[in-house]
Amino acid sequence: MSGFRLTLKAPLSARVDASSLLPEALAGVSAADVAALTVPFGTGVALVGDLFEITAGSDEAVVFSGDPRLDYVGSGLAAGEIRVEGSVGVAAGAGMSGGRLVISRDAGDGLAAGLTGGRIEVFGSAGKNVGGPRPGERQGMRGGVVSIAGRVGDGLGARLRGGLILVGGDAGAGAADGLLAGTLAVAGRLGPGAGRGMKRGSILVTTAPEALATGFAEAGPQDFVALKLLARRVPELAALFGGTLSGRAVRLVGNRLAGGEGEILVLS
């Protein structure tokens, strides 16, 4: 087994950029080699071995004990698996193109920003801007699947261009800002101001959103064959919504202020 387990020696006193600690980068090196690597720590650097206890893993994965200041975990991941036992900081899985990232508790802001592929599973909650663009980028997440068991903060799926984000709990304000394509599925409540500038794509919810961004129109209820299809083809969606993904939904279309034809499907 070539994986490693990196166990924090103490809670982090400053932010750590863990983007270099990817399974591919650590393949074939010894625990001592890993310990001798440096990572950005605050505005300085620290030896990985000073922050973490490093032991051999039980499989090929890189396993971290989490910390809310452990940033960029799995950022740039292209293959392999990273598991975090605990929470992570910002930008987990940012720019990931493949592989799998599992976080047993919470993720900070910018989870899955610019994701192009792969899977991210968060068993707790996530912060702001899940699946959004990285700074300066035109578009947000473009592919892959992100599932968050708990709630997410504001700005979910801003400029989303593709892929699927599943949220078990509530979503904060301003979801789907400028959403271009792709799918958001929220089992809890959708916060106010969702869908500003939304062009295309779908938001699946089970309860009617309280205050959408101005510019949506209701197209009425419909029996959607596509939902029946997705319920069978996309097991994650079926698991999230269960029986409510029967095909029946009320369709809201928008954002018409942006000439958009995205949809919010309120499942019933």
């Binding site: 700074p135 300066g136 980028e137 035109r138």
Partner: protein, 549 residues
């Protein structure tokens, strides 16, 4: 302290020294006549090396507002090319739009010691100078963009005499601490502000009804009469438009005997032949350049890959913004002076147009016979980042290498270029001319671009290797003003450069006139527009380039 660089093969074409093994002796930052042995000397062993003067790039967008806009748009490029900072550098990185420190370091790592920002917009000149002051290891200077400024166009349109024009040009050169005049799309940028979308050489522009030809000739006369060493540095009409070869040839013939420098001429050498209505006009252009000794050019070679284009020519950039890659761009109309447009581009060898542009640039390099009138540029970053120069040098020096690359490009483009039939390979002497001696001469920098006594001791030792790309990418030693700043391609010291300017005199009446113009039209005090000597290089002041009598 005296330093003797000994045992190297010296190429100093400005002084007629070609491939001679001889010593270069340095004292107090300058090269001195060899006093012979004796005294305390530090000896630098140059055996196995080619010894050249420091490289000079006379057209590279390295500082100012549009470069900063480029940086803003190119965060991904910045992240891809990080520049760890240690004891030598500041920090930063990027390739298409590198930070100031990265700019200085990357240039000096290739053996360059002077780089000129060719598009300083008057209103943004102070910013450009602040950036230039922050670029280590290279000397700099700016070319002031005129020819679209409302004050000038008013003067010409109102029929003011040449003297008034000369006074204005002199005033502006000094006010902006620039060392030459650049014209970008004469009258065209201004026309775009009036919603004009095209302006050909003999077409009257909107509002002022002036033709680009008239603007060009007026400013040519001004710089000649003022004695500014570098002739008008012209980015002509119709940049990038298929068929512009006609305009370019007409422009060369329109100079009324005044010298003219045509910049990034590759972008102005396009025909309309073939089923794609895009063809190489390089042969016609080269023939014309060969026949007209008053014309000089720099090529603006394109290199494949990601870059960002930054130009004052908003008319052209607006035309091109739809092919931006990544799809974002910034335009600006600037302060009655000019404009700018910043458009990211990704040149692909799989694109017919890009591939042919690449071939056209090389054709120009190889068909123009006199190396003293052609300067090596990619119009950084417009044709490609300056870090690609060693590759470009090898393309020029190594025919099999060139042919190898020619075979990789778009098939149809290959059949539209005569590149394969051109056997010329640049010699080391010619490289020394196009990257050193010739640009120094046209800029009037008498103590640069050569290794004779009195020259600035910018000396570069390149290990002679068959792979010219490796050779020119990693000099063994680079000395800036006698100080070693690069060893084996790595930065070992940071020095402060200097900034060149020309200060031609102007009639004090022009001060009064411009005070009123700035007060009333611009809404800014002329005194605050003008840049004091003390503002240059953190108080160091400009290095004044001598005027030609």
């Amino acid at each position: 302290m005296r330093t003797r660089v000994t045992g190297g093969r010296v190429f100093d074409p400005a002084n007629g020294i070609i491939d001679q093994v001889r010593d270069v002796v340095i004292e107090d930052g300058r090269i001195i006549a060899d006093p012979g042995p004796g005294g305390s000397e530090e000896v630098v062993n140059a055996s196995g090396c080619i010894v050249l003067a420091g490289g000079i790039d006379l057209h590279s967008h390295i500082a100012g507002g549009k470069v900063n806009l480029g940086r803003l748009l190119m965060n991904e490029d910045r992240a891809l090319f990080p520049e760890p900072f240690g004891d030598f550098c500041g920090c930063g990185g990027g390739r298409a739009a590198p930070t100031t420190h990265a700019t200085g370091c990357r240039y000096s790592q290739m053996g360059y010691t002077a780089v000129f920002e060719p598009a300083v917009v008057g209103a943004n000149a102070r910013h450009a100078h602040l950036e230039m002051a922050d670029i280590p290891n290279i000397d700099t200077g700016g070319f002031l963009v005129l020819g679209n400024d409302d004050f000038l166009l008013r003067l010409i349109a109102m029929g003011e005499g040449q003297q008034a024009i000369n006074d204005y040009v002199a005033w502006m050169l000094k006010a902006t601490q620039s060392c030459a005049i650049k014209i970008v799309n004469p009258g065209g940028i201004n026309a775009f502000k009036f919603n004009g979308r095209n302006l050909d050489l003999d077409e009257a522009g909107p509002f002022y009804e002036l033709t680009p030809r008239r603007i060009l000739n007026t400013l040519q006369r001004a710089v000649t009469e003022l004695g500014v060493p570098h002739p008008i540095h012209l980015h002509g009409c119709n940049l990038g438009i298929p068929g512009n070869v006609k305009t370019t040839l007409a422009t060369m013939g329109a100079t009324e005997g005044f010298p003219l420098h045509l910049t990034h001429i590759q972008f102005h050498s396009y025909g309309t032949e073939g089923d794609r209505h895009f063809s190489s006009g390089a042969a016609e252009i080269a023939e014309a350049v060969n026949a007209m000794p008053h014309i000089s050019v720099d090529v603006g070679q394109i290199m494949f890959g990601q870059t960002v284009t930054a130009s004052a020519d908003l008319m052209s950039q607006y035309r091109n913004h739809n092919i931006a890659d990544p799809k974002k761009w910034i335009g600006m109309d600037i302060e009655m002076d000019a404009a700018c447009g910043v458009v990211p581009f990704n040149y692909r060898d799989t694109s017919f147009v890009n591939a042919l542009q690449w071939a056209i640039g090389l054709e120009l390099f190889l068909l123009i016979e006199d190396p003293w009138r052609v300067y090596l540029t990619t119009d950084h970053p417009n044709g490609g980042p300056f870090t690609s120069y060693p590759h470009l040098i090898r393309l020029l020096m190594d025919k099999p290498f060139r042919d190898h690359h020619l075979r990789q490009i778009h098939k149809a483009a290959r059949s539209h270029t005569r590149l394969e039939s051109i056997s010329r390979e640049y010699t080391l002497e010619e490289i020394a001319v196009v990257t050193r001696a010739a640009p120094a001469r046209t800029l009037g920098l008498k103590d640069r671009g050569h290794l004779g006594p009195g020259a600035r001791a910018d000396v570069v030792l390149y290990e002679d290797q068959p792979d010219r790309e490796t050779m020119f990418a990693h000099p063994r030693i680079v000395m800036k003003d006698g100080e070693v700043v690069v060893v084996n391609g790595e930065i070992v010291a940071l020095t402060e450069g200097r900034t060149y300017a020309v200060h031609p005199p102007s009639d004090p009446l022009m001060d009064k006139r411009l005070e009123r113009w700035f007060d009333e039209a611009v809404g800014l005090k002329s005194s605050h527009y003008q840049i004091a000597d003390g503002e240059i290089r953190g108080g160091q002041g400009p290095e004044i380039v001598e005027l030609k009598p």
